[in-house]
């Protein structure tokens, strides 16, 4: 059975304060020691359109949030109409009667409670802009979040707006809380905090990503705004200068990428952050970094594609581009964080991999990770080991070869300006010194050297880069990648409760693959299910090509994260095909 928790969704017009209501409530809950996970969708436009914020509060760490909820706070009719379907049985809709005239579509065992957001905000706060504060007060009471904690956060948020604005907001907040006192009774939820303040933090994937980069010693960041990656660049502009680093907002993605490679050439750890359309623009330059063997980290926060696509929606559809998307053959490493915590540690790791293997590393994050906030244990910077580039020995410096053909494929690198050696970084095919050379023999040799680095890594990848949860006696194994992990884990647990044993393999490094581990996972089970959030089964193709097997593909391109229930349903289906129900009666025999 899943641990006690509460699921609340807030819906309304973008720009009405939906997101900030949810944000404040979840932060206040977290300050009280509860674990939280939030999920939000917002329209691509700055104003207007339907926005929603969902949060899960629990005593224990949370793996996934799902799409269903017990409590809905509807700011307007559109939200009511769009979201009542997602209510769990026995749930309650709280709605603003001024904005939601029509409840006729709501059916089933759903309780409906009018909460006069507009009227109370007008009456108590003097402005309908305080609607979201009324909602915040009410929901705080519902979730048994201490009013003083919430008010403290509201004060912080509005302190610079002047006394009047702050007072008006606080009045609306109190009005909402009082109303909750009168209406909620038994419906209130009481959760017991387990963690202590200070042990955990609430953070989004994008913030964690940039923090990971800072921890790894990133000293140069160039980006170009694009949803949902912009906040990484924004975070960098505020914080990188505090660590002796430089940030540039370039004139486009090509320029951003090129300048990162320039910074890397002179020895700095450099990164850029983008999303699908921007990643493609960087493509040519990524191949340059690959052939010049320069470390660089590219964060790709995936969104719905192709082209401008669904800019604010979830999708895992850049994998093939990340792995294969080059003209010519250019090795690179692709890693995929599965949780907000991973965003920190794996981004830091990406820098180490880039430095150690001297190649571009693409970090495939996604919208879901980028914008969701989550309670995570405070990051432990001492767990971040920062690798440095291989430097030449004095012996090697006597006849320095930038692209020396070594057993690991990794060659010693010097920074420009080093006496006694030249760092020649060509885009043309070159020999060990970096001198252009177009013979077929040399081209084949240098290809082999560059790709050898991946083999070297692939052997190490097996040691640490996958979450592998083998279950004794399991006939099924689910393979997923990236942010689907929590949903798969919960589904496996629910399946176990029904007596279906399922193993779960979730690599953090998706290219090169940890081959031996995957072979082991495949060998132990009868059927493999690959779960991913795209239309064509990109990871599955990659696995099939490599391991020659026939998985069941569970693919979703709905713009929202897959839920544990959906995964469970597929598990049950596959389980039933392995154990068909016994034929019943004679009619079967006669068919």
């Amino acid at each position: 059975m899943s641990a006690p928790h509460v699921l609340i969704r807030i819906g309304g017009e973008g720009g009405e304060g939906i997101i900030s209501t949810g944000d404040l409530l979840s932060r206040a809950a977290s300050r009280q020691g509860l674990c939280i996970m939030t999920y939000r969708t917002y329209p691509a436009e700055i104003k207007g359109g339907l926005a929603q914020f969902q949060m899960k509060l629990a005593s224990d760490p949370i793996r996934s949030i799902g799409l269903r909820f017990q409590h809905l706070m509807a700011f307007n009719q559109e939200a009511l109409d769009a979201f009542h379907d997602g209510m769990l049985k026995g749930g309650t809709i709280y709605y603003d009667p001024a904005e939601c005239p029509d409840l006729s579509k709501v059916s089933g065992e759903i309780e409906r409670v009018p909460i006069p957001l507009t009227d109370l905000a007008k009456e108590k706060g003097g402005s309908i802009r305080g609607k979201n504060m009324v909602a915040l007060g009410f929901l705080s009471r519902l979730a048994s979040v201490d009013l003083e904690t919430v008010a403290g956060l509201v004060r912080e948020k509005f302190k610079r707006k002047g006394e009047k604005v702050l007072d008006s907001n606080l009045a609306s907040l109190n009005a909402g809380y009082d109303l909750g006192d009168q209406t909620i009774d038994g419906r209130g939820v009481k959760l017991t905090p387990k963690s202590q303040r200070g042990q955990s933090i609430v953070i989004s994937g994008n913030e964690a990503t940039m923090l990971g980069a800072l921890a790894a010693g990133c000293k140069y960041m160039a980006g170009y705004p694009i949803t949902p990656a912009s906040s990484i660049l924004e975070f960098a502009t505020r914080h990188l200068p505090r660590f002796g680093g430089t940030v540039v907002q370039a004139e486009d993605e090509i320029s951003a990428m090129a300048s990162c490679i320039g910074a890397s050439f002179v020895g700095k750890k450099a990164m850029t952050a983008t999303s699908g359309p921007g990643l493609m623009l960087k493509g040519e330059l990524i191949t340059l970094a690959s052939t010049q063997e320069l470390p660089v980290v590219i964060i790709d926060v995936q969104r719905g594609g192709p082209s401008t696509g669904l800019p604010t929606k979830q999708e895992q559809s850049d994998l093939k581009f990340a792995i294969y998307g080059t003209a010519g053959e250019a090795p690179k490493i692709v890693v995929a964080p599965a949780t907000v915590e991973d965003c920190f540690y794996l981004t830091a790791k990406a820098f180490s991999l880039a430095e150690e293997y001297q190649m571009p590393v693409i970090v495939l994050s996604d919208t879901n990770l980028a914008v969701r906030t989550e309670t995570v244990p405070e990051f432990d910077v001492s767990r971040v080991d920062v690798a440095e580039r291989l430097r030449p020995t004095p012996e090697q410096m006597k006849d320095y070869k930038r692209y020396e053909d070594t057993p690991t494929g990794v060659s010693p690198i010097i920074d420009p300006g080093t006496p006694g050696g030249l760092h020649i970084a060509p885009g043309l095919e070159h020999d060990e010194y970096g001198t252009p050379c177009y013979t077929g023999v040399n081209h084949t040799k240098m290809n082999a050297k560059r790709f050898r680095k991946l083999e070297t890594l692939s052997k190490r990848a097996e040691e640490w880069m996958a979450d592998w949860a083998p279950v004794e006696g399991a006939e099924l194994c689910i393979i997923g990648w990236g942010s689907t992990k929590g949903a798969i884990q919960e589904a496996c647990q629910m399946a176990a409760e029904r007596g279906i044993r399922v193993s779960h393999f979730h690599p953090r490094i998706v290219a090169p693959l940890p081959e031996a581990q995957i072979r082991e996972a495949l060998s132990k089970v009868k059927k493999v299910i690959v779960v991913e959030e795209n239309f064509t089964g990109q990871f599955s193709h990659f696995l099939k090509a490599k391991f020659k097997f026939d998985p069941v593909e569970v693919l979703r391109s709905m713009g929202v994260p897959i839920t544990p229930d959906e995964v469970l349903e597929e598990i049950v289906k596959v389980h039933e095909t392995l154990h068909p129900a016994k034929p019943q009666g004679a009619s079967y025999a006669h068919r």
Binding site: K47, P225, T237, E251
Partner: protein, 315 residues
């Protein structure tokens, strides 16, 4: 009188006729200047009496980039930064069309800067309307190449330090034949400028200084849309024919408006047609829809010539 002979009431809003009403309400925030510019644009189209079947609007990505989607015109919503090359292709492939590029400052001058320079240099026949709100609206208020020094944006939290572009000067020096700047307060002048720009052959450019109350104004504590109008009214100076080197804008400075450039230069396709016709004579076959650019109709001659060439006629 029976009901069916009563004429329908005239549209209440003169722009209504140009809008795809099923797409309204639009996405723009209250006080945003983009909508105002669209009113001026549709009014200008109305006045220019163009055959609307031959007008195409091309836009990039951004809040301004959404303009194309609201107009009852053939429209081409492209990728970020590239509306000008898309427009170049469609104009050169079918010069009969009136091509208008409508996009934002970031789209046209950051990622798309290169394309702007070259289309102006080539004098491709199109009108570029840039809504300059000095920020990336759609992605949440980052710095753009027109953000003034000192202004705050999400990616310049401590104030911008980069020199902004002076757009009329760029357009002028790259070769635009018509360059004007107005604010979204100057609706009459802006309407006329757009009308003139569309009427004029060659690469024409209209800059619309416009507020982004939600992001730029708020972060810089400049008030709402109405405050912006008051500011524009008080701080604009109309100086037609001003030297474009002297019309740069700094943070909350005077805004010099007017028509700065109005010259004549051969357009790309006229030059191309004339040149190839000159050097190739009748062997130059103009692409379909180019025929009007060539004085004689070379097709028959060309066929005759080809036959003559291939039959080795020597007698």
């Amino acid at each position: 009188m029976s009901a069916d002979v009563i004429a329908p009431p005239p549209p209440e809003n003169p722009t209504e006729d140009w809008l795809r009403e099923e797409r309204i309400p639009h996405i723009w925030c209250p006080g945003c200047g983009i909508g105002t510019s669209v009113n001026c644009f549709t009014q200008a189209l109305e006045e220019s009496k163009l055959d609307r079947d031959n007008v195409v609007i091309v836009s990039g990505i951004g809040c301004t980039g959404r303009v194309a989607g609201y107009l009852k015109l053939d429209s081409f919503h492209t990728t970020h930064g590239r509306p000008i090359p898309f427009a170049t292709g469609l104009k050169l492939a079918n010069p009969k069309l009136k091509v208008i590029v409508y996009s934002g400052d970031g789209d046209l001058f950051a990622i798309g800067g290169n394309h702007f320079f070259h289309a102006a240099r080539r004098n491709v026949d199109m009108t570029v309307i840039c809504v300059n709100n000095m920020t990336y609206g759609m992605t949440g208020g980052q710095v753009t190449p027109t953000t003034p020094i000192g202004a705050k944006a999400t990616t310049s939290p401590f104030g911008n330090i980069e020199e902004p572009f002076n757009l009329p000067f760029i357009a002028h020096s790259c070769g635009a034949v018509y360059v004007a700047r107005w604010t979204s307060f100057h609706v009459r002048q802006l309407t006329k400028a757009i009308r003139d720009a569309i009427a004029k052959p060659g690469f024409t450019f209209v800059e619309v200084i416009s507020p982004c109350p939600t992001l730029f104004s708020r972060r810089n504590r400049l008030g709402d849309g109405l405050d912006a109008m008051k500011f524009y009214k008080a701080h604009s100076e109309i100086r037609n024919g001003a030297d474009t080197r002297e019309v740069a804008i700094s943070h909350q400075s005077k805004i010099i408006c007017g028509k700065f450039v109005d010259i004549t230069r051969t357009t790309w396709h006229d030059a191309q047609a004339a040149h190839l016709h000159r050097v190739m004579g009748n062997r130059f076959v103009p692409p379909r829809n180019w025929e009007h650019l060539i004085k004689s109709d070379p097709m028959e001659d060309l066929v005759a010539e080809t036959i003559r060439d291939s039959s080795g006629d020597g007698s």
